[in-house]
């Protein structure tokens, strides 16, 4: 059964929900409670793995090389993403409670994520066997 429509609806509803929820959070009585504000706060303190994760998603969805650098196994790039993000999370958790990430390193983390997604977790990878036969 083709799940494309279902997945499209799930994505659409998720995005719509986030937008509407955020509008409510922006205009309610409480300040600084929007989704954007919270994620910014997380990323600038201990959870800067989020920045790299967003970069990886960009490289993965929109870019992507054709030559699979990690070989034929489709799960390996995914496992590496998880390992990489957990490593960044652990580094973040080890920081002091007053730690604030530098903006330029934040940018670097984003770019490194895009590079990873583009080269190692591409959706345009050609079938391994086709290239090497």
């Amino acid at each position: 059964m083709d799940y494309t429509l279902i997945v499209q609806i799930v994505i659409g509803i998720t995005i719509l929900f986030l937008i509407l929820f955020n509008i409510y959070l922006y205009f309610n009585d409480v300040e600084n409670d929007t989704v954007n504000f919270l994620i910014k706060r997380w990323a600038y303190h201990k959870y800067f793995f989020l920045t790299t994760a967003w970069g990886i998603l960009g490289g993965h969805f929109f870019l992507g090389t054709e030559v699979p650098l990690l070989g034929p196994n489709a799960w390996l790039p995914v496992v590496l993403v998880v390992v990489l993000l957990i490593a960044l999370l652990i580094i973040g958790l080890k920081q002091d409670k007053d730690f604030v990430m530098k903006r330029r390193i934040q940018l670097l983390l984003l770019i490194l994520g895009v590079i990873y997604g583009h080269f190692f977790w591409s959706q345009r990878h050609l079938d391994y066997l086709d290239i090497f036969n």
Binding site: N36, K40, F61, E66
Partner: protein, 146 residues
């Protein structure tokens, strides 16, 4: 940081609720995607890639703007008020969608108009990402964290 401490003392409940909702949503999406992949169905990644291959490019543009909004803060003065910036962001997105800037971009970049190569599609996406980053940079940044 001082203000943030006081803030969380006075408004702990709502913020905690928002955090739980976000984390819950994220976990549900990941599980959903794993199940899709494991049962050999189309995944979220493939649908998003499919949508952007239809060349509307709105998602790509939003990726860039959201990247700046979440992760590249503003230390200087605002160019426009946040609400104005959000309206500009969405107006441009609507323009991209209804004027079919996406297909137009691909036609422009491709040597053979109806047969863009993978590389040409990637270049068009990269342009769209850069454009999203630019609009985010100008109109949609958050205040820097102390």
């Amino acid at each position: 940081m001082q203000n943030l401490e006081t803030y969380f003392e006075t408004h702990p409940k709502l913020v905690r609720i928002v955090q739980y909702i976000l984390i819950g949503l994220f976990v549900v999406l990941i599980i959903f995607d794993i199940i899709l992949a494991a049962t050999n169905n189309i995944t979220i990644s493939e649908v998003i890639k499919g949508e952007t291959e239809k060349a509307f490019f709105v998602l790509t543009y939003f990726w860039g703007a959201v990247a700046i909004n979440l992760f590249f803060t503003r230390k200087s003065k605002k160019l426009v008020h946040e609400v104005t910036g959000t309206i500009i962001l969405f107006s441009i997105a609507a323009l991209i969608y209804f004027l079919k800037i996406g297909p137009f971009l691909i036609e422009t970049v491709a040597k053979i108009p109806n047969q863009p190569t993978q590389n040409e599609i990637r270049i068009a996406h990269a342009i769209s990402m850069a454009f999203g980053l630019l609009i985010g940079y100008l109109f949609w940044r958050q205040d820097h964290v102390e």
